[in-house]
């Protein structure tokens, strides 16, 4: 099958060249996905599909454009390429657009990244999916406090896909991957018709590595019940611990200003911070596209450049901007890679309970809502919920509060990382403990 996708991609590249493109890159994919959703003891939704598509980047007479289509009929593809090449010629020239230096295609990792679980795919039958969603619901309903449940929804999904990428200046790659996913969410009854919800999920490349349905269901119920009666606390500066499952929301605000595009467009508060201490010394993390079975692992990046592990922060010092070929050329720098893959953090010594003990009194953040961050300045403001903690123990639920500040100040206040990286995300962040930060409530 990968052979077929490679042929399709090469066909598009050659077709573009025949029409006058000096360079072209093409990607083809085919992904099968099955999802079963179960609600309150009955089948709610069953979905199955195979999606296909072709994406093409064109370099024509110093001009550039990108295109995507799911209409793969040969005669339609011919018309597609005609129009794509013709419209590119109308654009302004851009001397910075180019395919990567072919040297960057060399040295590609040749081993097995563990992305495809053939046995897991074969074992994902309709009957097995049904068993899993029922086991998830049973686990929610078996937990302590289940008599307060208003509704339970569970889901199970699996995908198996293949992708091919080729570049006219000598790059060819293909890979196959699977992913498996279990989900439970529930709503419980609270005063005034309020129905706080709780969710938990597990996502892996390998089916056998999924968290047990029993644990997922129990955790979803626990999280919903923990929000019963939640209220805002008074505004103030408080220490806080951010749970691993949601901490990625806070860290993700740093990813946009790390991109070459934001830096070149002067929309990055991290543009001039390379090799400077941006965060506390406890923050060390790397971008690791070669992580075995990683959710974002791949031996080459979206431009075909061979993937390598890169330090992003070392003891709080920023080490890498994400520069694709275009932004690097515009900035007069060497490209790194266009974006993050798996972000792997150097964890700390303690688990979540240990972090709460170390904090003593403050806020445990278990969820974020809305909010935004100004990539040009680092000013951010985001809604939070969680638990008020005293003596290292959660004592009452909190909701409708905001956490605000500037990222350049926030990450300097990072006091400690937990030993509990989130394995269900490519942003494998552990729980975080911060020295006092600004919360607003009543």
């Amino acid at each position: 099958m990968s052979h077929e996708l490679l042929e399709q991609a090469w066909g598009a590249v050659r077709g573009a060249q025949r029409r006058g493109a000096q360079g072209a890159r093409a990607a083809a994919h085919r992904v099968r996905e099955s999802t079963l959703e179960w609600r309150d003891g009955a089948l709610d939704r069953l979905q199955e599909s195979t999606r296909m598509g072709l994406e093409v980047a064109l370099f024509v007479d110093g001009r550039y454009s990108t295109h995507a289509t799911s209409d793969l009929r040969p005669e339609a593809l011919e018309g597609f390429l005609d129009e794509c090449v013709a419209m590119t010629r109308v654009l302004a020239e851009d001397a910075h657009r180019a395919l990567p230096d072919p040297a960057r295609y060399q040295g590609r990792f040749q081993g097995d990244l563990g992305l495809m679980d053939e046995a897991g795919v074969a074992g994902s039958t309709p009957a097995e999916r049904r068993r899993l969603v029922q086991a998830l619901e049973a686990a929610v309903r078996a937990g302590p406090g289940a008599d307060q449940l208003a509704s339970v929804t569970t889901a199970c999904s699996d995908t198996a896909g293949e992708r091919a990428l080729v570049c006219s200046n000598g790059m060819e790659g293909s890979w196959r991957g699977s992913s498996f996913y279990l989900w439970a969410e529930c709503a419980v009854k609270d005063a005034g018709g309020r129905k706080p919800e709780g969710w938990w999920y597990s996502a892996r490349r390998q089916r056998g590595a999924l968290q047990a349905p029993e644990e997922i269901g129990r955790e979803a119920l626990r999280r919903a019940l923990a929000q019963v009666g939640a209220k805002p606390e008074p505004s103030g500066e408080h220490p806080c611990v951010v749970e691993a499952a949601v901490a990625g929301r806070l860290f993700a605000d740093l990813l946009s200003p790390l991109s070459g595009w934001a830096i070149q467009q002067q929309r990055s508060f991290l543009a001039d911070k390379l090799d400077q201490a941006v965060a506390a010394a406890c923050l060390t993390l790397a971008d690791d596209p070669l992580l075995p079975a990683g959710l974002a692992s791949q031996a080459y990046d979206g431009e075909g450049m061979s993937a390598v592990r890169r330090p992003i922060f070392e003891q709080g010092v920023l080490r890498t901007h994400f520069l694709d070929t275009y932004s690097a050329r515009k900035l007069g720098r060497e490209p790194t890679t266009g974006g993050a893959s798996n972000l792997v953090f150097q964890g700390g010594e303690r688990d979540l309970a240990g972090l709460l003990q170390a904090m003593g009194t403050g806020l445990l953040v278990t969820g974020f809502s809305g909010g935004n961050s100004n990539a040009a300045t680092g000013d951010f403001s985001v809604g939070v919920k969680g638990m008020w903690v005293e003596g290292g123990r959660p004592v009452r639920p909190v909701a409708e509060m905001n956490l605000s500040g500037n990222h350049l100040a926030l990450w300097k206040r990072l006091a400690e990382l937990g030993n509990d990286p989130n394995p269900s995300s490519s942003l494998r962040i552990p729980s975080l403990r911060f020295d006092p930060v600004q919360f607003s409530g009543t």
Partner: protein, 515 residues
Amino acid sequence: MAEMNRRDFLRGVAAGTAVVSLPALSCAPAGGALRGAGGPAPAGGAYFDPFGVDEGLLRRVLDRALARGGDFAEIFLQHCVRHSVALEDGAVNSATTGVDLGAGVRVLKGDATGFAFCEDLTEAALLATAETAASVADGPQAARPRRFAVSRPPSRYAIAVPWSEVGVERKVPLVARLDGLARARDPRIVKLSASLRDESSHILVANSEGLRVEDAQPMLVLGATCVARHQGRTETNSQALAKRQGLDWITAGRIEALAHRLVDRCVALFDAVPPPIGELPVVLAAGSSGILLHEAIGHGMEADFNRKGTSIFADKIGKRIAPPGVTIVDDATLPHERGSLNVDDEGQEGQRTVLVEDGVLRTFLHDRISARHYKLAASTGSGRRQSFRFPPVPRMRVTYMERGTHAREEVIASVKKGLFAEDFSNGQVAIGAGDFTFFLKYGRLIEDGKLTAVVKDANLIGAGPKVLEKVDMVADDLVIDENGWTCGKDGQGVPVGLGLPTVRAGAISIGGRKS
């Protein structure tokens, strides 16, 4: 994040939440597209050339979809072509196209949905897709598709020249003009990116009850983001015009107004003071503050959440949830608005739905499944999907509050100390708990009834029902926002509109910062 993580991202958002946001205007979306699908039309009565699918085939697909005992089947065909041209650093130097062609087949058995799609419109692929969707049921065939009766929907967004006939060379000067006008407006503008995106979506819905309807849905978004520098400070602003319109709607006057608003709002931020911390009375300005309605009440009215019993509004039909004088509408009928629909994605005619009438909750927003669940004669025409790759769910269209009787100045003057909230960029709601947030990009402080210092970048948070209860002054200046809002739910994004007159909303908690 890499492609395989998209699902990770979509699902990583907490369950039971829905988000709405403005597009990252400067990043033209991957996808764009092309001409179509024009395969040879089958002999003998093809009526919708782009699909090359005739009525006989539609009936065979629906029949196969019902073969295992489903009680309703539907096929949704879509051909969507998107284009964008983008400007960066003074030159219109990139473009995208995206073509989506495919069919989604849905089978219902009671409340349960079987759904499958294919991107290959051959008979074999369509029948196989129907068989997959049919497996939601497990019995003998119980229903047969009825003969089609073609419906003719109203026309709310016809355009003179379809986007498929507009070449890139006609779009480039418009984007360049926006850039030139914006840069000329203020010398402190150091960067500007802009794009013109257009979309032509053709849909055909046919179902086993004999409905067959087609619609052509155009869309345009002209948007820009600018960066200004002054005395070591950097500020940014984004603005857009989004409509179901054609190229000729983008007049010189509209481009100029967009450029001026983009720049003026940006450089005004140089004078901004830190936003206040904690609860303060808030006056919502006319326009994008309509996000309050979208988050605080709109999602809670979507009947799928109510059918599941997870909405905070589940048992509030017929009850007072806002003071008299507050009427909230979700409307598909406004001409050329981004969220307007001639027909929804289940083939039902788009309509105007009064959610809250003079403070009393009147109805939820229904799709077919929820209408049947609640034993209603018909849905509210609210069944929407991102594309043929998704089953429809109840969604908003253009959500706004009807105008009141006060003057804008009167509302502002009534507040001694508070926040006048003008521009918002995104929001989110937890459906069950009712907590909602919306992010303020630009506002002013109110001191002694007068607008004073500029504030920016603060998250506002509150409990939806409580905030609505406190709306006590509504002005007569309703504005439907023209920025291009996209609402995300269930991993599906759909274009929506929102609007509000100037409103006094009582105290809301503001996520401010110390200086």
